[in-house]
């Protein structure tokens, strides 16, 4: 049912990273689909594999990371097995990306105009003058004042919020079908966050862009996303529509996450407890639930059963032995 509209399909993605201390599995069995005009939220703490997942979608993983299993299909094009030139053409024009920290995403020794114009001219057959006009038009659309001046300015002369809007303007100008927004608001203050979210919403509504919104901020996700996946330890532990996930969270981690957020209004409970039942050495690393050491409900069944993402109810998937 969902598959018919989906533009990007990620199936059983596994990524390993080799470090000086050995090889670690950072992304495990991650599958999801992105649809036009919909926002797919990816939530999780730092190190849960969100960024690695994002980077693999553009085949931009760092040298030490490698996809060992799985597929990424964009409009029936296999991103992982395309030629480098084919992937390059997709980047920016079909699948765009907004970086986590706008302050470091731009080259400090080149001005905004250089960045904007070179991106346009890489993907469109236009001359410098046309590109400049286009850049100004899109900067204006983003409510950025004095676009002509802005093009001449250097990244360090602008605020993080402005740079983030420039990035969105660059994205918008090429009208991609998918936008990957990796923590687009983390480095910004509250007012700027709201601005950016508004612009992303506009991108979705006006251009029918499918957005992969990565965040550890549940507020942002609740506001924007249509469907949400929660990641923990490289696994998607729960996936559901935003309403279901926020109203009836099933996985213990999701519940803990939501409780910690509501902690402001409710009396704070001890939201995440340490495991008491299982001893560390009993845990079979191969099969154990990644959340076992912090889960309040964990017992021996969690340590020794291979986990699978199973349908708890329609369109609500959970990776927890206890709930299956």
């Amino acid at each position: 049912m969902m598959g018919q509209h989906s533009i990007l399909t990620v199936n059983n993605l596994n990524i390993v990273v080799s470090t000086p201390h050995g090889v670690t599995q950072t992304v495990n069995d991650v599958s999801f689909e992105l649809e036009a005009g919909k926002v797919f939220g990816l939530v999780g703490e730092s190190g849960s594999g969100k960024t690695m997942t994002c980077m693999s979608l553009l085949n931009l993983l760092p040298d030490e990371a490698k996809v060992v299993e799985g597929s990424i299909k964009f409009r029936n094009k296999d991103i992982l097995n395309c030629s480098t030139e084919d992937v390059r053409k997709v980047r920016g024009s079909e699948i765009a990306m907004i970086m986590q920290n706008p302050m470091t995403a731009f080259n400090p020794v080149r001005n905004i105009g250089c960045h904007f114009i070179e991106t346009l001219r890489t993907h469109l057959h236009i001359n410098k003058h046309q590109a400049r006009e286009m850049a100004m038009a899109y900067l204006e659309k983003m409510d950025l004042p004095y676009p002509e001046n802005l093009l001449k300015q250097y990244p360090f002369q602008l605020s993080g919020g402005m740079l983030q809007r420039v990035m969105i303007a660059i994205t918008m100008s090429l009208n991609p079908s998918i936008l990957i927004a990796d923590e687009p608001t983390t480095a910004l203050d509250a007012t700027n966050q709201l601005q950016i979210l508004k612009q992303l919403d506009r991108l979705r509504n006006e251009y029918n862009t499918g957005i992969l919104l990565v965040s550890h901020d549940l507020g942002v996700i609740a506001q924007m996303a249509d469907e949400v996946a929660v990641m923990y330890g490289g696994y998607i532990v729960e996936k559901a529509s935003v309403l279901k996930l926020f109203n009836r969270p099933k996985h213990p981690y999701t519940r803990a996450l939501l409780q910690s957020r509501l902690g402001l209004t409710r009396r704070k409970e001890k939201s995440v407890k340490r495991v008491s039942v299982s001893h560390r050495n009993l845990i079979n690393r191969e099969t154990a639930c990644p959340f076992i050491e912090r889960c309040g409900d964990a017992d021996h069944t969690c340590a020794n059963n291979r986990l699978e993402l199973k349908e708890y109810e329609k369109d609500h998937l959970v990776r927890c032995v206890k709930l299956q």
Binding site: F106, N107, V109, R110, T122, H123
Partner: protein
């Protein structure tokens, strides 16, 4: 920007003052009386009477600080005295020998850039591959090679055996090749590695990831984004090296009989021609400082961050 220039140029003055002071003091470290030395160099027997007359004539009987001020006033008027040996004006001799050295230094810079730039970049991009290992070996050899020996090797193999270049002296363009390559050689390895390091650092910057995510061609990312930023530290170094080349030129010019500042300096040292030593030292010190200033200004011009900060105040 103009404020930045003014600030940098002003900061130059105390250093120039220091250079003049050191040069002046150095000459007064000379063992023996300068007046006696002068007389000996002019083949006049240094009798007490002759020395006393000359001391008065040269102002050597006055207190040191007055001598310094008098000397400085002359220096500012480009009067660096008369060579003991050739009896010519020191300033004119320096002017005569300065241009060949500048020529040599610039040719060396071209060698450095042309050779170390591509190899440095490529060895960063193909890190750990054979070209990277190769450049590492080159770098080691280049900083360990005695320049005078390299000069003779080049002369022997390329000029004497293969007859590709003229052996000694200055004249045609071909004369310039071997000396400037010799002068450049130690720097080639250094800059190759420096460029490799800074390129490697920049290749891991988020702006490169974002440039890739925007679909830019790899060639463009390297040439427009990484190269420009990696070149900045190399440029500063190169400017400093330009000053150091003046002293490196002493050896290279001796090997190739190149009639530049280095030859002039070493001849005056071997002849104990004190005014000439003093003049050369002062002049080359000043050139070194000015070189560094020019580099700073170019750096500011190329790096918008510094330009902006400089103009802000």
């Amino acid at each position: 920007m103009s404020w930045f220039i003014v600030k940098r140029v002003t900061s130059l003055l105390p250093i120039l003052f220091g250079i003049s002071l050191i040069t002046f003091i150095l000459l007064h470290l000379t063992p023996g009386d300068p007046a006696a030395a002068y007389l000996r160099a002019s083949h006049i027997p240094p009798t007490d009477e002759a020395v006393a007359t000359l001391r008065a004539e040269l102002g050597l009987d006055k207190p040191l600080y007055i001598q310094y001020v008098n000397w400085l006033i002359k220096v500012v008027q480009l009067d660096l005295g008369i060579s003991y040996v050739s009896k010519n004006s020191v300033w004119e001799e320096i002017m005569l020998h300065f241009f060949p050295t500048v020529q040599l230094a610039f040719a060396s810079c071209i060698f450095i850039i042309v050779i170390s730039l591509p190899i440095g970049m490529i060895s960063a991009i193909y890190r750990g591959k054979w070209i990277d290992q190769f450049s590492r070996i080159i770098a080691f050899v280049s900083v360990s090679m005695p320049a005078f020996w390299l000069g003779f090797l080049l002369i022997y193999f390329l000029s004497v055996k293969l007859d590709l270049f003229p052996v000694l002296g200055r004249g045609t363009f071909a004369h310039l090749v071997l000396p400037s390559l010799t002068l450049a050689f130690p720097y080639i390895g250094t800059y190759m590695r420096l460029l490799r390091t800074s390129t490697l650092e920049n290749l891991n910057e988020p702006f490169v990831v974002y440039a890739r995510a925007r679909g830019l061609r790899e060639r463009r990312i390297v040439s427009r984004h990484v190269l420009k930023k990696s070149l900045l530290p190399v440029l500063t170094g190169l400017g400093m090296s330009l000053g150091n080349m003046l002293s490196g030129a002493v050896i290279v010019e001796t090997v190739f009989a190149w009639p530049g500042m280095g030859s002039l300096f070493i001849t005056s040292i071997l002849n104990r021609d004190y005014p000439m030593i003093q003049g050369c030292l002062l002049f080359m010190g000043a050139i070194f400082v000015v070189c560094n200033l020019l580099v700073d200004l170019t750096y500011a011009f190329l790096d918008p961050r510094i330009r902006w900060e400089g103009g802000k105040k």
